[in-house]
Symmetry: C3
Subunit: 433 residues, 3 copies
């Protein structure tokens, strides 16, 4: 894996707040309240947003608000702070404004700079455009006497050009002529990307852009960065937000934009393993979670039915009736069943594999069994899965994420202790060590 | 957005015709009739096809037929004219034939050249192969005294090499050593691409190639070009053609190949917003359009049923019965509902946002409400959607396309007036100005 | 198509075996038995696996086992032999071990070298890392006096960096400073790729990675190599393995990893055209194969029903009832129907097209008709499909694969004769010649 050079190796949440709101007594109201978030409501990366979330006429005031609020509350903020400034690949004027905003924010006299971890640069184009932003940050570092490369830089991928630029990044970021190793997040911005790609959907909803998300995740993997998905606009739709995160996680994109503290809570929890394991049955296109009852897993849907018949069974899936003996039935249900391991299960498996490895074994079988109940009929299923070094390494990802969170977010220890037992927390911190 | 340098910023239709047919009194019959199309039957780009659609033995005659027919009818043809000549990345002989065909067609003495907008080059390989075609066109421009760069060039992406080359295009096309800024269309050619990729499907049908289409659309976005999908072979299958175009549009690929004037009509209309808005309900995997009746939206499917029960409601979705109060029911249906805005709706929203922006607001809520009727029970739903600058810009795409069509295709004004009222046409032309 | 430079133009199967197993009398047991496979159980490429399948402490012994077993049985092994050695983009130590293992295996004194076709290099990174492996192989060729470039090299794509590197390959592999034209297979390794991309799925199952598979297939197409998918872990799940291969084939990825001789048999047969043709009906999301009975195709599912009614018909699809006349019914069923041609059918069509081409025709209509029986009611359907040169070329892929197998795998002639008649075998070998 390409080494990640910054403190955080994982970022679950990227929360934006308008820096200056018109018509309020305190135009900094939104960032003032955001700066006081903590625990699960506080994001891993907080983004005072001096670009799209703030009206153009308010952005000068926005930059000053950032200075004021971060100077006051930055020391206590539990996540990292990365303001977004204006930028555009097609406009030197906008780029120079972005430079000026960064100058304002990083001025040591303002008292905010020491709490600022980096900047988010939107609307970047090809790799040469990324370098212009990097160069401005280098100038700021030199002007104010910060260490060269110490201010992180993240970009929003919202054009075809920047999607392509991610492929150039591994070779370009190591050149001596830039300080691009400051790169931190690759964040998709699907609304502007949709505009840039000139896509149309009948309802005006955003296209799903699976290839963009793949390419961003791959870009992060290849350059040692962190991939973050764009905003999920329908704030009320918690189920949809969770579904999107599940899809993203299967692509290696473990972070997501959050528009409200409620979304932050969801997104902070989403990539963490569940408290308790559960069994699912895949029937046709549908996935039904089984109800645990006295150690048995009870199916309560109506797409499946099961009856004993003579010395065998009749299993009905939709309209398809099958006569099966006990072994065939068990095999059939095993094929349909899927187990979602808990944090406890994952830690158990990893410890077991680590012990086996120390004992000189390269691969061991992990057994998983259950009694499934359909229409009152009980069926035992059992499965062996081979674990080798590669399985172990791939299973490590959610644990590494947990460890990164636990180390960097002491403000979430209480919430984590509500989710997991003390014993599990400790063992999870020691796995892979 | 990368600036598009040619007259047309959008191309909906790419219609090919055989240039010389054997065994006919008039071998130019097909292009002669195609050259007389107008209105919705006439494509944005017409392609007299001197490659695959024409037998190899007929291609010399084909080039002469192009000259004859375009000299005669080219001045009146309402779209652009881009003949396809032969070319192959692996064959210098074929490439030289392509050069000769272009020389024949562009000879000022023939009288066709002034009506020819560019050439379509099939079977290109890596970017160096594209440059060979560009160089031949530069030589033709110099030989005959046309302005350098004035003849457009489009390519067919039908190999893995050319798919990769699109990533190199933004940096290569601006070099002083070529005139590649003449580039116009990136057109997928899925039949030959399938061969080049050595893909197999059981039925012999073409694979869907979603990644290719994404990459072509991205290539167009990054280089300021226009993306066009390949031919849809099953000419009778209008529904399938429409579905394909809808998919493509969600990828930013707004143009498609047409094999018949009937397909041209479909493809010319497909990306234009509908005359009237409509409500859909998403139930499971299915999408059902509601019937408007006295201003209410009536559901006529049978996957949903709804009944009043005491002071609440019972909503049945498939086999799943839920008891809900009025608010929960409204929320549930809102989640299922989707509105497809009409041209009128889109123009309204954009004007509203433009007015708000002038009034100093950066974001406004657009409300959309309806009364939905299921099994005779009425339910009111209502949704606010936040519009900011980015939403506005993304919603602009179908309007920009419409404006491009309206400006460049006066022959379609009558058809457009049948679709939209005079008032809407005028307002749509002024939005975003 | 980019020319493929090696003997095999297609590889269906990539079968790995542990080179040294601890605690056995004969630590070479697994490769000894694998080396004696033949016929459908023998893979096109056999990979004595001195990396992940073999415990780190056993790998020195593993390299010696390869020498011993290949020296003894290599001459008779019907496929190619490509041992996998250790390698890692992040570890010079591992890379040097890989070099030493290759030196051991290729030492002419061991007697194995003449039967070794190439090496498989896992865990490669960017293109410069690929070149390091190429250089080691060049040194080995010079050291032992083999022709430069004669030892093939295949890589496992299991990182974002190597996925990107495939885009650089066409330009890099032809440089005079390397011998990368030895490149042979691009093999996906989804377990380690999942780790490198840091992807998470709830159950711990592998994500499907469709974009990776596309990019690997495209990389192979662009560089004249062969694409192979990674291991399918659930050995019992034959249906799932077949489904995966079908998906891969539609992406142009015709080879797949096999973990057992049983999987080898499945994967050797999968891309070959079927013995007999069959009709399918697509009803909603489902595909039902029709039963041939006295030359008629009988539908036995229950998602469709059909009845005569007056002088017309009533066709019921799910809950949707439609009244149709004979022509409409025939058209409706034609839209649902799909024909899966047999080897015989494909050879017939190709011969027919070849004859037409010789007769000067560029395109001909291929007719396909059937009598479909639903609920006892017979309906005749018939379809014309246009074949032109491109259709012919795309249809050639399964035949070219068959020809490649037939030429290179005489040990499978008997199995092929069980599948296809003698006459068909002969004609299939002559098509496209």
């Amino acid at each position: 894996m390409v080494e990640r050079k910054h403190d955080r190796e994982f970022v679950r949440t990227f929360f934006t707040s308008p820096t200056a709101v018109q018509g309020e007594d305190d135009s900094a109201k939104m960032i003032r309240s955001a700066s006081q978030l903590s625990g699960m409501q506080a994001p891993d990366v907080w983004v005072p947003d001096n670009e799209d979330a703030t009206a153009p006429s308010m952005r000068e005031e926005g930059a000053e608000n950032i200075v004021e609020v971060v100077a006051e509350n930055g020391a206590d903020f539990p996540g990292e702070i990365h303001p977004r400034v204006v930028w555009h690949r097609d406009s030197p004027q906008t780029r120079y404004q972005g430079f000026q905003q960064m100058m304002t924010i990083m001025d040591p006299e303002g008292g905010a700079a020491e709490h600022i971890d980096g900047f988010v640069i939107p609307e970047v184009g090809g790799i040469d455009d990324w370098k212009k932003a990097d160069e401005f940050i280098t100038i700021i570092e030199n002007e104010y006497g910060y260490e060269e490369g110490s201010i992180k830089m993240s970009v929003i991928i919202e054009s075809g050009l920047s999607e392509l630029a991610m492929g150039d990044l591994p070779d370009e970021m190591v050149k001596r002529t830039n300080n691009m190793e400051r790169m931190f997040l690759l964040v998709d911005g699907e609304v502007d990307y949709t505009k840039d790609m000139r896509a149309i959907t009948p309802s005006g909803n955003l296209p799903p852009w699976p290839e963009l998300r793949h390419n961003t995740s791959r870009g992060a993997s290849a350059a040692g960065l962190i991939a973050v998905d764009g905003p999920y606009d329908d704030i009320r739709d918690v189920e949809g937000y969770r579904e999107r995160m599940k899809e993203n996680q299967a692509k290696g994109m473990l972070g997501i934009w959050s528009l409200t503290p409620g979304q932050v809570v969801e997104a902070n929890k989403s990539p963490l393993p569940p408290q308790s394991g559960s069994w699912l049955l895949n029937v046709g296109d549908q996935q039904v979670e089984l109800d645990e009852e006295d150690g048995r897993q009870v199916y309560r849907g109506d797409a499946l039915s099961l009856a004993e018949s003579g010395d065998g069974y009749v299993l009905t899936v939709g309209n398809d009736e099958r006569e099966l003996d006990e072994e065939e039935l068990s095999k059939e249900l095993l094929d349909m069943a899927e187990y979602i391991p808990s944090m406890n299960d994952i830690v158990d498996s990893m410890e077991e594999f680590e012990a086996a490895k120390e004992g000189g074994k390269g691969a061991i079988a992990m057994e998983r069994s259950a009694t499934i109940v359909i229409d009152g009929v009980e069926v035992d299923i059992s499965n062996d899965r081979m674990w080798d070094e590669a399985t172990y390494q791939a299973a490590m990802t959610p644990i590494s994420l947990f460890q990164d969170v636990y180390e960097n977010r002491p403000d979430q220890h209480e919430d984590l202790a509500d989710l997991y037992s003390e014993d599990i927390l400790e063992r999870a911190m020691n796995v892979g060590a």
